[in-house]
């Protein structure tokens, strides 16, 4: 049922400098979203290069390619950069771009505030990166514990710039959390009830909930740190308070960096299985419970402090396995019973399932204090969170990118190059991070610039470094794909994949206000409106009067004013 008639090639409009400037001050949520994601992507490569530098240093024992100070700075920048300047902006930028389209809205709520959010994020990135160019660049890690990060132990302007940059980026992302959430809650098209929202939109909503509560905590932590940089004081109450305020943000942020990408995977799996998301209502409830639970686990980063109620955080950390399990049930239930197609987006989505699971299961393991006392601050944890973030979330990101890039740009991308990227990246990711669990078990601490030659860590570290370079190669393939596809410009139809959700009902790329007379918002009967239309059409073609299968989520939660019987004029 693929489209056999391609639309005529796009005439390439003359780009004027004024056009490019228009992008930077645009209030079109699609442009703001693309700016956010695009900036994140560029920084992803930059901070990824830093990671490869670290891995080069760690390839062999007792190396001093980098000085300890350089290593600590690079390590800090890699962590802060990836979390605050890459994956969080990816997560919110996806929402800025997709949410209005998916809910049938013409714009995002408060577009100028959304744009402000983007530019504050950019300002934060500039401040953080500038911090490396001045004396005393931040080297206390992305968490910056007091008192190491105060002015006594980390003097210099560089660390001040880090504090400022983190605060600016946090403000930017806080604003975007607000506008995306407001859009979802108050700007839905008629018929788009809360229980008709696509799974991706629900993941964005809970992401924004966490953002609205977590970013203020980060700002408080940065305020405390800023105060300590002006008036250094080594008081245990403040040191611990900083940890609490930091991790109260620092744990939800890792879920901010997860939920939108599991949403991408859910959409991709549904489309390429040819059926709607399984167990939708349970997924919604699980997402809400999961997000609330993730606000309650932050103390598991502080198990070894000896100063928090470890059992509570262990209880809440283990509890998260229940909503996570429900979500996995839904993902697996979507592909079982489907007729699967395997374009690049689907491959990334499928790989997400076992890979994120490794990260999640090792997370449950270290949610037990008796295990975490051994594993905390070792390479086991480094392996754990790279499995959730890189093997999980970034794979989910690429699933979303390969899926939605034709919609956003109006051009199709090379499937061959996409699959090459996928194969290399899967191999590279697992070769890099699987050995790290063993390294942690063998007693290698994290955040070390080098390690001794006689502790049996050499071969595993070298393996991890080789894997890192394979990941790097895979990402070069991706860049080449972007370049060559932009050169070939194979035009993308409105719905190249037979998607289920509203963004596929408009042109590629969508018009300024998303839906027009030519591409109106279709009838919304469920969270998969386009699939509903196709299924009804095929039922009508097969012979009218076929009854809907039991269990089909048809008109949804009732009371929406759209009765099951009879078509109304759109």
């Amino acid at each position: 049922m693929t489209a056999t008639r391609r639309p005529p090639p796009l005439a390439r409009p003359a780009t004027r400098r004024a056009d490019r400037m228009e992008w930077l001050v645009s209030t079109d949520h699609k442009r703001i979203g693309l700016l956010t994601i695009g900036t994140g992507l560029v920084l992803f490569y930059a901070f990824g290069a830093l990671a490869m530098t670290m891995r080069t240093q760690l390839a062999r024992p007792d190396q001093h390619i980098l000085t300890n100070q350089q290593y600590n700075q690079i390590m800090t920048l890699h962590g802060t950069g990836m979390i605050a300047l890459v994956v969080t902006p990816f997560a919110l930028g996806l929402g800025v771009y997709l949410v209005p389209l998916m809910i049938g809205a013409p714009t995002i709520a408060a577009p100028r505030a959304t744009l402000l959010g983007y530019w504050l994020y950019v300002g934060g990135a500039i401040a953080i990166i500038l911090g490396c160019a001045v004396p005393g660049g931040a080297q206390s890690g992305w968490w910056g514990y007091l008192p190491l990060s105060n002015a006594t132990y980390s003097p210099g302007t560089g660390a001040n710039l880090w504090v400022t940059g983190v605060s600016l980026a946090a403000c930017g992302m806080l604003i975007q959390s607000g506008t995306v959430a407001w859009t979802i809650l108050t700007r839905r098209a008629p018929g788009m009830t809360m229980l008709h929202l696509p799974v991706f939109v629900w993941t964005e909503l809970v992401t924004c909930f966490m953002g609205l509560t977590a970013f203020p905590s980060l700002l408080s932590a940065m305020g405390l740190l800023a105060w300590n940089r002006v008036h250094p004081a080594n008081i245990n109450f403040w040191n611990l308070l900083y940890e609490h305020m930091f991790w109260f943000y620092g744990h939800p942020v890792v879920y901010i960096m997860f939920f939108p990408f599991v949403g991408c995977v859910a959409e991709v799996l549904a489309t390429f299985s040819g059926r709607r998301n399984f167990a939708y209502k349970s997924t919604v409830l699980a997402l809400l419970a999961f997000a609330a639970g993730s606000m309650a686990v932050w103390g598991h980063h502080m198990f070894t402090s000896g100063q928090v109620v470890n059992d509570y955080y262990s209880l809440t950390s283990n509890f998260l396995a229940i909503p996570a399990g429900v979500e996995y049930f839904a993902l697996l239930g979507t592909i079982i019973g489907g007729r699967l197609r395997y374009p690049t987006a689907m491959l990334f989505g499928l790989a997400f399932i076992p890979q994120f699971l490794i990260g999640g299961l090792t997370g449950i393991l270290v949610g037990s204090p008796a295990i975490d006392y051994q594993m905390n601050n070792s390479y086991f944890i480094v392996g754990h969170f790279h499995y959730t973030l890189l093997a999980g979330s970034i794979f989910g990101l690429f699933a979303g990118v390969y899926y939605w890039l034709p919609k956003a740009t109006g051009i199709m991308f090379s499937e061959r190059l996409g699959k090459l990227h996928f194969v290399l990246m899967t191999i590279g990711t697992n070769v890099t991070f699987l050995p790290m669990f063993a390294l942690g078990m063998l007693g290698m601490p994290r955040r070390v610039a080098t390690y001794p030659a006689n502790e049996g860590l050499n071969a595993l570290n070298l393996t991890a470094t080789i894997g890192a370079f394979i990941i790097g190669c895979s990402l070069l393939v991706f860049v080449y794909n972007l370049y060559i596809s932009n050169y070939r410009k194979v035009p993308a139809p409105p719905d190249p994949w037979q998607g289920h959700t509203l963004e596929w009902a408009t042109s590629s790329p969508p018009p300024r206000f998303n839906f027009t007379a030519e591409y109106p918002v279709p009838r919304i009967r469920s969270f998969a409106p386009l699939l509903d239309i196709r299924e009804r059409a095929s039922q009508a073609a097969a012979g009218g009067g076929d009854r809907a299968e039991p269990g089909q989520d048809g008109a949804g939660d009732g009371g929406a004013g759209h009765g099951g019987a009879g078509e109304e004029a759109p």
């Binding site: 400022t164 609205l212 997000a291």
Partner: protein
């Protein structure tokens, strides 16, 4: 069914989930300051729920939204804030330079509103 009545309830429900977790935290005997951090976050969620309810009521039935003019004011404002922040890092009085772009941003925003 009003399209916007469920939304505040979803937010409020999420806040309630968090309050339950705060209650359990109190049961485990965590320090009061820490409980205050979590409880205030949960309270913030309920405040947001109220704001959503008020905002949704105001917007009920509206299908035509005011088109936003370009984002010049937002960008200038951002530049002002970043300049102030960088200024504070290097030399506090440099931050005063930020008054210019912040003022410009305010004027631009006002003229957008009127124009």
């Amino acid at each position: 069914m009003k399209i916007t009545s469920t939304a505040p309830r979803v937010v409020a429900l999420w806040g309630v989930f968090n309050f339950v977790l705060v209650a359990v935290l109190i049961g485990f005997g965590e320090q009061p300051t820490v409980i205050a951090i979590y409880a205030s976050a949960a309270a913030l969620v309920e405040i947001i729920a109220v704001l959503v309810w008020l905002g949704a009521r105001r917007q009920e039935g509206r299908t035509i939204w005011r088109q936003a003019p370009n984002g010049d004011a937002a960008v200038i404002f951002a530049a002002g804030v970043v300049l102030a922040a960088l200024g504070i890092c290097f030399y506090p009085y440099v931050a005063l330079l930020a008054i210019a772009p912040l003022g410009m941003a305010a004027l631009t925003a006002l003229s957008d509103r009127n124009g």
